[in-house]
Symmetry: C2
Subunit: 398 residues, 2 copies
């Protein structure tokens, strides 16, 4: 696997963006991804009981494991929109498929934006012709811009992997989940590759990557009504389709893991109002579930996050969050580090608060909790909690 | 049960407060509650795996169900202080008991404040003599003031109940849990009564009241390392000790429920940085557990809380929070109200956002989610999330 210095786009994919003035005019808010051939498609979706219409639709389509197009809009999530929402989503899929001349079963749909407002179909429908007709007018980067909501920068990354002597490309874009840790603003991620991958293998590979990336930047990775990660593998590279038994599968998985982690990191870095990126590592936990529970509780604690914002090495809040996480551990055996500074030794303070405060002042911080209980570990990314988060979210809809 | 216009204190209890300069000088931070006779004692404690030394000690003592004194300090939580913390707590109990001339088993201890800093015993020990000697120098209200941390006002309430032709008094004080909803600042509550109550009955009555009051103002009611509710019934009224079979038990329980609810409401009202009190009611849920899960998820959602702060009737965030709560319900049957304004009818918007926005502008708001799934309901109190919360918690320790 190679991280290329310039962004690469896999072969055989085309892009289009246009303005449909879905929430308001003045920006490209409607995008299309198209593969010149049918592709294997994998997907993971929110487990929220309230699923947006597009999510319900994609979850049905994904069962076949094939696809060729993804249509996506920002400005409106088409969630909590009842039967009309489902009718609208199906209508968008039908119109896009008609223009592209493909079966509706091959067109996937995603929406992000405000919940509970009907889709402005009177503006969307007329934009579909120009959108489909404009394929090639934009880039993957252009799509990354079109799907932004409160994101402050587009999120895009790529990797190359050698498969059968040829260079395959995996590229991905995503949009942020607002305040990452405790809540439900939508995360969308699209990953494209020209490497041929057998569809069940693709689904397993994506699920595995998402588990250690996007699912470790939120409470449980699937809070929103719209969260979706879709991956298309169109096989234009011409390799024998990868299966778990392929010699090159592990490098493929490794590249995908790495790509997904980089994208998820960009989301946290762009957390609403965030000034710091914080990596919470719980190590030597009883098992991985305990490690993950504790790391998520710490990463989601408003008190921990505000303390970090205030440059306060308030490790008591970290210990208490681990304590209520239901992870099994003995506080009196536990060490806590801010970067390399051990602030807690065996559950009590280590008189290093001054040194720790200096560490917190940086733009990036690593909090390590060593439970000395077992051998499992988990890593969760989060950010600090600031006044700007409140301002952004108190004003988001109005 | 009667809510008296003036605060009443049950007979046979004495109070003392003094300054021990535990965190810093300049305020009375050390308090003592004493019953002239041995009393039945009940208690509920944090279920956090990280329990402060005083909590561990009280949890042991409560098994006997008897007590006569409660010593309490603010400024230091004596949590994450290891063996020294336990030694210090026991030492405080021993010194207080010695001055009062009672068995150490009858003295309970509570602490609240910063986590992880050793107790300043050099200042605490000399203050114990004056504290015990000063019994009668203060009131229950004085103790309420002494236990405040980031609270902006003391919290105190009382009820009277007629038992056997005589008027019994139940009075309670508490201190706030910082930001109520998502976290772990300490909640302390002390309830005193002169009504005689059999000790097992007292424990069951307290647990029942706490379940519907203090446990419904936080994620699960027991997040902090120090949360404690203690209740003493000294029987000075002279009634036959109440049991569950007593004719007057139900009025006693009702008064206690009502008192605990009022105290918990005061805590939310004083939530850090809060400008609004919000009651989240989930009704017609499948069962009580589902109702509680959904109500807590909504009440704890940072996005819901910031929207309320911003006077935005963003009901989509409420629906999404219910959706990720794991409560069983059908979004397409669900109605949502802001006070009496129905913003959502059968899962979709009801074009009442403007009217709802007017409702939100008040100081108190009632959000009702009607699931039309069953007959159970739950009520959770919360507050809005503001920039001031961030400021208070970013600066709390420094």
């Amino acid at each position: 696997m190679k991280k290329s210095p310039v962004m690469k786009t896999p072969k055989g994919f085309f892009f289009s963006v246009t303005e449909a003035a879905i929430k308001k005019p003045g920006r490209k808010d409607f995008a299309l991804i198209f593969s010149e051939v049918e592709a294997s498609v994998a997907g993971t979706f929110t487990t929220n009981a309230v699923k947006a219409a597009p999510v319900q639709l994609c979850a049905q389509k994904i069962k076949a494991g094939w696809g060729q197009a993804i249509v996506v809009n920002s400005g409106n999530a088409n969630a909590c929109t009842g039967r009309q929402g489902m009718t609208d989503a199906k209508n968008m899929v039908a119109k896009v498929s008609g223009h592209l001349g493909i079966s509706t079963s091959l067109t996937y749909i995603c929406s992000t934006g405000v919940i509970g407002t009907p889709m402005p179909m009177q503006r969307i429908i007329p934009a579909i012709g120009p959108l489909a007709g404009g394929l090639g007018n934009s880039s993957f980067d252009g799509v990354a811009k079109a799907i932004m909501t409160t994101d402050t920068f587009p999120k895009i990354a790529s990797r190359t992997v050698r498969i059968g002597g040829k260079q395959g490309v995996i590229a991905g874009i995503c949009k942020g989940a607002g305040m990452i840790a405790p809540n439900m603003a939508t995360m969308l991620c699209f990953i494209l590759t020209d490497i041929a991958v057998e569809k069940k293998t693709l689904q397993a590979a994506l699920r595995s990557s998402v588990k250690k990336s996007f699912n470790r930047i939120t409470i449980d990775g699937d809070m929103s009504t719209n969260d979706t990660a879709l991956m298309m593998a169109n096989g234009i590279l011409g390799n024998e389709p990868l299966t778990k038994n392929s010699a090159e599968f592990s490098s493929f998985q490794e590249a995908l893991d790495d790509l997904a982690y980089e994208l998820s990191r960009l989301i946290v870095k762009d957390g609403e109002g965030a000034t710091k990126l914080v990596e919470v590592i719980v190590k030597n936990a009883w098992n991985e579930e305990d490690a993950e529970k504790a790391a998520l509780a710490i990463a989601n604690s408003s008190l921990v996050k505000t303390a970090i914002y205030g440059n306060d090495a308030n490790w008591g809040r970290i210990m208490a969050a681990a304590g209520y996480s239901r992870a099994r551990f003995d506080p009196e055996k536990t060490d806590i580090f801010f970067n390399k500074v051990r602030v807690v030794r065996k559950g009590v303070m280590n008189n290093k608060d001054k040194e720790a405060t200096e560490e917190i002042k940086g733009k990036e911080l690593k909090i390590t909790v060593d439970m000395h209980a077992g051998k499992a570990s988990a890593k969760v990314l989060t950010c600090d909690l600031t006044e700007d988060y409140i301002r952004i979210n108190a004003e988001y809809r109005t």
